[in-house]
């Protein structure tokens, strides 16, 4: 197996990692950096449980090779809260009951964080479009959309 040595920033920390060349960004985050907040769901770019920010934009980390990430800036769900304080969105999703089993939550938070960054006042349709790549089998989405709406206010 061939390895690549990459240097990247993950949640504001600079990391240098040796990665097998077939390793995905998702595997690297979970297995090399032990950041297990990011989940593996479908491994096909459908469910969004593995969504992270790569250079400020959300991507499915199961669909990115770690070897491609040399020089990249990654933010995972662990990087959202600062100094032990949850973001407004994280607070809102807890309070509104937008978390049930919690498996989709990390990806959902990343997608919604990115949405609010590019569009501070999204409509209901824009919110639903932004999380179309994040499947949730528990909540029926209503409370998640509510949480995003509350944060946008």
């Amino acid at each position: 197996m061939n390895y690549s040595t990459i240097t990247l920033t993950v949640n504001d920390l600079v990391e240098t990692v040796d990665v097998p060349q077939n390793m995905t960004l998702l595997q690297m985050i979970r297995e090399k950096l032990s950041l297990t907040g990011t989940k593996n769901g479908c491994s096909a770019g459908e469910c969004g449980a593995c969504t992270v920010l790569m250079n400020g934009e959300p991507v499915n980390s199961c669909m990115v090779l770690a070897a491609e990430c040399d020089g990249a800036e990654i933010v995972t769900v662990e990087g959202l809260a600062k100094g032990g304080k949850l973001t407004q969105l994280q607070d809102a999703i807890i309070k509104s009951g937008g978390v049930q089993c919690g498996f989709c939550t990390p990806g959902m938070l990343i997608s919604a964080t990115a949405l609010l960054k590019r569009n501070a006042h999204p409509t209901d349709v824009e919110i639903r479009e932004a999380i179309v790549g994040n499947l949730c089998r528990c909540t029926g989405y209503v409370r998640i959309v509510d949480a995003i709406k509350q944060t946008a206010k």
């Binding site: 593996n40 499915n60 669909m63 479009e129 932004a130």
Partner: protein, 297 residues
């Protein structure tokens, strides 16, 4: 079958820094190396075992692949590494090619569109490719770099069969150029998925219409159909109907019927062949009516 294992089969990642190097490497590793940019098609097929490779060749370091530019004479050029979200939100594209932005926007989800590219959509040669029809009706031409150097390949002669194109070992598609659209054109993309957004197309209908002095009806139309034949294609007979006869609701229906006659869909998990045929007719009629309403205003 989706393989839920997070890993990819054993392979090597190669990132050439020049087109000459990329073409040489790909030609020397025929059948076991493939170019990729976003990986959204390749990775799924590698995991499923449908695609077997020893090397994934990243095109993102090559010259010209990040270009996205509009020139009032040459038209629009989109590089192989330009993702769908960039296409859907580019001000020049929204202004001059709004139908392309619409088609790009219809692909999968926001995070997938951050990786997926128009060139990848074309090179994957899926009959269902969402952006292919629009590139086709706009007369897209691919800039290909092979071991002999550059050549241009029109999209109309690019596809051979599902997943098969005229590309030869060593070829890398660098960009696509879409000529300046005809004056006063109106276009739309009607996509039928199992959901309103986020799904692959069961039927995809691209329509473009524009005023034309050469046509007896005063207008010319282009109609491209996806997911209803081995390759995306233009319904030429239906187009002819619309340029020959004065356009009325009846003539639009006739053209839609003709589009339906031109398709050869299959039954699959997303829809039956029969359903697809009827939906080609209905969506073509809907798209033509919508475009005609705006054109004749």
């Amino acid at each position: 079958m989706i393989n839920p294992h997070p890993g990819l089969p054993e392979l090597q990642y190669v990132k050439p820094t020049s087109l000459a190097e990329a073409s040489k490497f790909l030609a020397e590793h025929e059948g076991i190396a493939r170019p990729f940019s976003g990986g959204t098609d390749n990775f799924v097929r590698l995991r499923d075992g449908v695609l077997k490779l020893d090397y994934l060749v990243d095109v993102k370091g090559l010259e010209g692949v990040h270009e996205i530019s509009f020139d009032s004479k040459k038209g629009l050029t989109i590089g192989a590494a330009v993702n769908m979200n960039k296409v859907a939100s580019n001000p020049e594209i929204l202004r001059h090619y709004p139908n392309l932005a619409e088609a790009a926007q219809s692909v999968a989800s926001y995070q997938l569109r951050n990786r997926a590219t128009v060139i990848g959509n074309i090179c994957n040669a899926s009959p269902a490719g969402d952006t292919i029809g629009t590139c086709m009706v706009l007369g897209g031409v691919l800039r290909v770099h092979g071991i002999q150097g550059f050549r241009d390949v029109p999209l109309s002669s690019f596809f051979l069969a599902p997943g098969r194109t005229v590309l030869k070992p060593g070829d890398v598609v660098v960009s696509i150029t879409l000529p300046v659209p005809p004056k006063g054109f109106v276009g739309t993309y009607k996509k039928l998925g199992r959901n309103i957004i986020g799904d692959l197309s069961i039927v995809g209908v691209t329509v473009m219409g524009f005023p034309s002095k050469d046509a007896p009806s005063g207008y010319q139309f282009r109609i491209a159909l996806a997911s209803v034949a081995p390759v995306p294609f233009e319904a030429l007979k239906a187009e002819a109907v619309l340029s020959q006869k004065k356009i009325t609701d009846e003539v639009i229906t006739e053209a839609a019927e003709s589009a339906m006659q031109a398709v050869t869909p299959i039954d699959d998990v997303r829809g039956s062949a029969r359903y697809r045929k009827f939906m080609v007719r209905n969506l073509t009629r809907e798209a033509l009516t919508e475009v005609w309403k705006k054109l004749s205003k």
